[in-house]
Amino acid sequence: MLNFLEILIRGLMLGSVYALVGMGLTLVWGVVGIVNIAHGEFVMLGAYFAFWAFSLLHVNPLFSVALSIPVFFFAGVVVHRRITERLVKEHELSALILTFGMSILIWNLAQFLWTNTYRSVPYLTGNFPFMGLVFGKSKTISFGLAILITTAIFLFLRYSRWGKAIRATSQNSEVALVCGINTIKMRMLTFGMGIGLAGAAGAIISLQWVIFPQMGGSYISKAFAIVVLGGLGNIQGALAGGLIIGALESLVTQYLTAKMAQIIPSVTILVILLLRPTGLFRK
C-alpha cells in the first residue's frame, strides 16, 4: 500500500510538470486558435536556457526558472507577432504545417549548435524522506515550483484585468472585440504566456532529467493528451489532465511495463475524442 502511495505521488509530481506544458498549449490553442506543434521545442529551449545559465554563468537554476518566464514570454510575443498571428483565420492545416516546420527548424538548429550530447543540471541531489516514503529532492522542489507557477497563472487569469480579457477572448472573440478588448493584443499576450509556461516547464525539467535536442517530442504528445483531456482552453482542466497523465504513466510503468506507458497519450486522445470530445471537465 505504501508502495502504491509512493508511486502515485511520484506520478502526481511528474504530472505537475506535464500540466505546466499542457496549460501553455491549451491557452494558446483555446484563446489564439493555433495548434502549436513547436510547443515542445520551447520546453526544450527552456531546459537548455537553464543549463547554459548554470554551466556558463553559474546562475542558480531556481533563479533560471523565474527568469525563464519573462524571457520566454517575450520570445512568444515576438514569434506570434511576426509569424503565427497571420494564421489565426486560416485553415487549420496551415497552422499545423507551419508550427511543424518551426518545430523541425528549432530542434535541428539546437542539434547543430549544441550536439546530441546529454546535458544535465546537477544542482539538487539527494532525497527527502517523508513519512516512510522517499522522494528525490529535485522532483519535490520541481513539484513545488510547478504548483507555485500554476497558482500564479490561476490568480492572474481570475483577478487581473488582462486575465479577464483573455478569458473573455477565449469564450467568444467577436463579443470580446465589440467590448473594446484589443483581441490582437490579447492573442499576443496569451501566446507569450503559453510560451512562457513552456520555457518555465523546461527550466524545471532541467533540474530532474537529461537534456537533449529532441526532448520536446515526448512532451508535445503528452501535452496534446492533456489538452484533449482537460478540454480546449480549460486551464484548470489542463492541470487536472496533467496530474492524471502523470499518475497514469507512473502507475502503468510500475504495474505493467515502461513501454506500455508510452501508449497512454495516444490512447487518451483517441478515447476522449471519441467519447467525450469536449474534455472531461466543463468550463
Binding site: 495548434v35 509569424i83 497571420r86 494564421l87 486560416e90 485553415h91 487549420e92 492545416l93 496551415s94 499545423l96 504545417i97 507551419l98 511543424f100 516546420g101 518551426m102 518545430s103 523541425i104 527548424l105 528549432i106 535541428n108 538548429l109 547543430f112 504528445s221 496534446f224 493528451a225 484533449v228 511495463t257 513501454k259 506500455m260 508510452q262 501508449i263 497519450p265 495516444s266 490512447v267 486522445i269 483517441l270 475524442l273 471519441l274 470530445p277
Partner: protein
Amino acid sequence: MRNPLERNWVILGIAILMAFLISLPFFATDYWITLVILIFVFTVYSAGWNLFSGLTGYTNFGLAWFIGVSGYVSTLLIADYGFLWLFAWPIGAIFTSMISIGVGYILLRIKGVYFAIAMVALTEGTRELFGTEYLTPITHGGKGVPFVAGIRLPTLYWSILLLAFITVLICYKVTSSKLGLRLMAIREDEQAAETLGIHTTRDKIIAFVLSAFFVGLAGAIHFTYQNYIDPTFAFNINLTLTPIVMTLFGGVGTVFGPVIGATLFTFIHEILWAELTLLYMAIFGGILMALILFFPQGLLGWMKERGILPRIRKI
C-alpha cells in the same frame, strides 16, 4: 482541351515520357534508378494523401499509419512466412484498406484539427504498441526486420512505376467524377452537403479507403526496397509530413500537384542532403514555414492564378 491539335501534343508528350521512364532501367545507373523509385513512392504517397485530404478537407495527419501497417503486414509475410512479394504487397494493402473502413467509420465523425490530432495519436499509438513486449513476438519490436525479398531492382522499379501511373489515373478519374464533386462539397460545407442528399459518411469512407489502399501498396514496396522495417521507420511522422508538404508545394486538391511536388522535392532533398547534411533538416523546417507563409496555394495554384495554366479541375 478545346484544341484537338493541343490534345495530340499532350498525348505525344506523355507517350514519350512513359517510354523514357519504362526504359530507364536499361540505361541508367543504380543511383538514378533508386532516386526515381523514391520519386514514385512519394508520388503515390502524395497523390494518395491528396485524394482524401485535398478533396474532403479533412487533414489526414496519419498517412504513416497506412504506410506502417501495410509495410509491416507485407514485410512480415515475406520475411517470416515466405510469401512472394507479388502476393505480400497486395495483401498488405488490402489488409490496411479493410481496417481503414472501420477506422474511417469511427474517426471520420471527428472534425477539423481534432481529426488530424486523432490520426497522429493513432499513428503514434500504433508505433508504440508495435514496440511493446506483448507484440514484439510478432513484430520483432525495436530490433526491426532486416530482410531480402528476392526481387531485382528493375522489377521493383517497374512495379512502383505502374502503381504511380495507376494512382495518378485514379486521382484524375475521381477528381473529374461526381464522387469528386461530392467530396469537394463536403470540404466546402459538410452539413449543407448532407441536407442536399449527399451521403457524406459513405463518400468520406470511400475516399479514405482508396487513399489507404494506394498509400499502403506504395508503403509495402517502399519497405521492400529498403530491406528493413522497424516501428520508428514505419510509423515515422516524416512519412506523413513529407507527402503533405510535397502536395502543398505542387498544389492541394489538384491532380498533378502531388506529382510535381514529389518530383521537385525529391530532387531538392537530394541536393540539400548532399551539400548540407547537418543543417538539412533545419532548412527543411524553414522551407515548410516559408511555404505556408508565402506560397500557400502551391506551384500549380500560383500558375493557375497567373493564368499560366487553365483554371480547370482536371489538373
